[in-house]
């Protein structure tokens, strides 16, 4: 742009005629630019329209509904922030939020740790056929619909399911139980299903990150006498920092906004031991018909996810971002 302007504005030209010419040129250029801009906006508009209608509008509507007491059909009554107070004071709703935070342990910490370990192993045996098989096997849960995963696992975790059968085979019959029906084990059990599903995604992301690491770095480290552990912490881990950041972000959101696995496997039970915000919002809206409280809870959940994820991103991405 700078270059064009310089070329089009001859230094030696002077006088009224030259000035008019320049102005005309400038005006024409501006018009052309405006048309270009307009057509660019024209191209973006349909997508932006969809986005506004299907993403922004529901959020705005939820925010609006959250200030009303409404059963979804009849007239609504303005209640101010009463619904928000309900969300933060009703022990059941607060319990759901706490459960969601506990799920981060299973949905995020476990899969990222397992994926890092597995990716490191797969990288070490990259040339063998086993690496490909391992990649496929670990990624497989990612292509199975969460509902199917939920159904399958609720069979496996039942009294006569595979998990208890294996435990009995190992002589651990004493600890077998209905994992999803027990107050102490239901949340961890749902967490394990989530971890099983999310490992694949983390693995693929981290493996992709590892391919970017310069092999010369490993060579240099080895010459300096570094072992595999040292290599992992000095080269691999910093090298896949960005990918880990993406994994953590995605899985934390999956934990806080979880719904499908829990709806299928426990429906929030037994008691309220696996109740999470996503499920409670569904119950509030469709069973209790309290659209206002459900909307307030949805907005709180959205803010909660942002409050957790945004600082996490800063910390994990570090200076590069």
């Amino acid at each position: 742009m700078e270059g064009v302007r310089t070329a089009a504005a001859p230094v030696e030209s002077s006088g009224a005629a030259a000035l008019t010419d320049e102005r005309l040129l400038l005006r024409r250029r501006r018009r052309r630019k405006a048309i270009r801009n307009l057509s660019a906006y024209g191209l973006v508009l349909p997508a932006a329209g969809f986005y506004v209608f299907f993403v922004v509008r529901p959020i705005v509507l939820s925010a609006q509904y959250s200030f009303y007491e409404w059963n979804g059909i009849g007239p609504a009554t303005w209640v101010g922030i009463t619904n928000y107070i309900e969300v933060f004071t009703n022990p059941k709703l607060v319990g759901a939020i706490l459960n969601a935070f506990e799920l981060i342990l299973y949905f995020t910490v476990l899969p990222v740790a397992i994926a890092l370990l597995a990716a490191n192993l797969i990288r070490a045996i990259a040339a063998s056929r086993l690496a490909g098989v391992a990649r496929t096997v670990l990624f497989l849960p990612q292509v199975i619909p969460l509902v199917a995963a939920g159904i399958m696992w609720s069979w496996q975790l039942s009294t006569d399911g595979l998990v208890n059968q294996i435990l009995r085979l190992l002589g651990l019959g004493g600890i077998t139980r209905a994992w999803l029906g027990n107050f102490d084990t239901a949340l961890p059990a749902v967490g394990v299903i989530g971890a099983w599903v999310l490992v694949g995604l983390c693995l693929v992301l981290i493996l992709a990150g590892m391919t970017k690491i310069d092999p010369a770095l490993y060579e240099a480290a080895r010459i300096d006498g570094a072992g595999p552990v040292r290599e992992f912490f000095t080269i691999t881990l910093p090298g896949v920092r960005q990918e880990v950041a993406v994994c953590v972000t995605v899985t934390v959101i999956a934990a806080l906004a979880s719904f499908d696995i829990i709806y299928i496997s426990t429906q929030g039970g037994p008691g309220d031991s696996t109740l999470v915000p996503g499920l409670q919002i569904f119950y509030l809206a469709f069973y209790e018909r309290e659209i206002g409280t459900a909307s307030a809870f949805a907005i709180v959940l959205m803010v909660l996810v942002l409050v957790v994820v945004v600082p996490l991103q800063r910390v994990l991405r570090g200076r590069e971002s």
Partner: protein
């Protein structure tokens, strides 16, 4: 230029969205208006023209579809366009479906909120026209809703395809093993049978109590009727002013249930067991008893012919008060239904036509609606259906019928009874705490 423009565009777009949304409070004030005026005092018919009745039925219950098929056979101008869903989904969808795509016939969940929202057709004119007013009124009481949303009086907002009843099914072969040759006459005898089963290494009761459906509400309500007055429980379910579930009689019932839990009479994994698992275990001979309803009679006659017996939860003392959850299989007509007359005619036909009544008993396993002296099909003696029908008449004579405690409000089952009963199994809730907690939730839900 671009950088300054972007937020402005975003702001503009968002403010348009805000303007779209925030200008008025959500929700309307008017109920949907009926698209076809219901026929007044005269008996309605389906006419001679071709009619397509839109039905929204419950998955897993073959009776409504069987009745629809038979109806089309008798009235070829009427065909059905049926959509089926699970009961939980119907519960969630009911208001929106009735509002947005009103069916002519719909299986209803708890209906008081639907009636007060103006989503259901007032069936009183049809009740007059067809003479439903001459039936035993106990059949229709549960289907009336007044302006306050209380059930038991007011206009008729639904009709039943039959009325079902819960009690205790038992496996006759397993019962013989513990020397139980007839149904227990008192709760004490029942306790003894449960203990004998446990001692013999048989699972006494495999009762579903997992997910969002607490099946322990079945035995609990049966016990409530043995300890107290079923009418008082109905008052609570119908949201009568001042009604409470937290009474000394109900506490005794809940404590009795707790004693069963403590004694290990229920399968260990009941908190993760669903209805289907319970059925398959009972049919597979893996438990002696099952608290369930007569809607399974036909199924049990087919799957374990001659081997399933039935009795009502026994009284505390011989000959004492008994009762059972007994509710019509509720079907309503949307306020804006296209063919309300034909839908009402169909409902009347199910209660009065001999073929329809036979189907109701044979396929549905329950008692048909209708006049007390109406036709009843011959039932094979000694069959499960025979036993449930016999128990039904005992219960009717004792005037012990009551609606299901889970139907008191739209959310009380999934949000209150179920979690509290599951907690009781895990030792995290006491019988007194259960009733207190449910009553508190009830008051907050009814107060809305």
């Amino acid at each position: 230029m671009h950088k300054t423009l972007r937020p402005i565009v975003l702001l503009g777009v968002t403010s348009v969205a805000l303007a779209l949304a925030a200008c008025a409070p959500p929700g309307g004030s008017a109920a949907p208006s009926a698209s076809a005026a219901p026929n007044g005092g005269e008996a309605a018919t389906c006419g001679d023209e071709d009619v397509v009745l839109k039905g929204y039925f419950e998955t897993g219950f073959p009776l409504p579809s069987a009745l629809a098929e038979e109806f089309t056979r008798q009235y070829p101008n009427v065909t059905f366009d049926i959509r089926e869903d699970q009961f939980a989904i119907i519960t969630q969808n009911a208001p929106r479906v009735l509002q947005d795509s009103p069916p002519d016939l719909m299986r209803l969940p708890q209906m008081s909120e639907l009636a007060t929202d103006g989503l259901l057709l007032d069936l009183d004119p049809y009740a007059e026209g067809f003479g439903w007013t001459d039936w035993p009124q106990s059949q229709l009481t549960q289907l009336r809703v007044d302006e306050e949303g209380r059930r038991g009086s007011g206009p008729l907002y639904a009709q039943g395809l039959n009325y079902s009843m819960t009690g205790v099914f038992f496996n006759k072969e397993l019962a013989a093993q513990i020397g139980m040759d007839e149904a227990p006459a008192t709760l004490e005898e029942f306790d003894a049978a449960l203990q004998a089963a446990k001692d013999a290494g048989i699972v006494p009761i495999a009762q579903f109590n997992g997910g969002a459906t607490g099946g322990l509400a079945f035995p609990l309500q049966g016990l409530m009727a043995s300890y107290g007055d079923p009418a008082a429980i109905n008052e609570w379910i119908f949201q009568q002013p001042g009604a409470t579930i937290d009474t000394p009689e109900n506490l005794a019932a809940a404590e009795h249930l707790q004693s069963w839990i403590d004694a290990g009479f229920f399968a260990e994994d009941i908190n993760s067991m669903d209805y289907a698992q319970m059925m398959s275990r009972f049919i597979g001979g893996e438990s002696l008893f099952m608290f369930n309803g007569d809607w399974e009679s036909g199924n049990l006659d087919a799957q374990m012919a001659g081997n399933a017996g039935f009795f009502l939860v026994p009284p505390v003392e011989e000959g004492g008060q008994i009762g059972a959850m007994s509710a019509p299989l509720t079907f309503g007509v949307a306020a804006a239904a296209e063919n309300p007359d034909c839908a009402a005619f169909f409902l009347d036909w199910t209660a009065t036509n001999e073929d329809a009544r036979a189907l109701t008993v044979e396929v549905g396993g329950s008692h048909p609606m209708g006049p007390a002296d109406a036709f009843m099909p011959a039932i094979e003696e000694g069959s499960t259906t025979d036993e449930t029908l016999a128990a039904g008449s005992i219960m009717g004579e004792a005037n012990g019928g009551m609606d299901f405690i889970a139907n008191a409000t739209g959310a009380i089952y999934a949000q209150s009874w179920t979690p509290n009963l599951q907690k009781m199994v895990a030792g995290e809730q006491t019988p007194a705490g259960l009733l207190e907690s449910v009553q508190a939730d009830y008051e907050s839900q009814v107060g809305n």
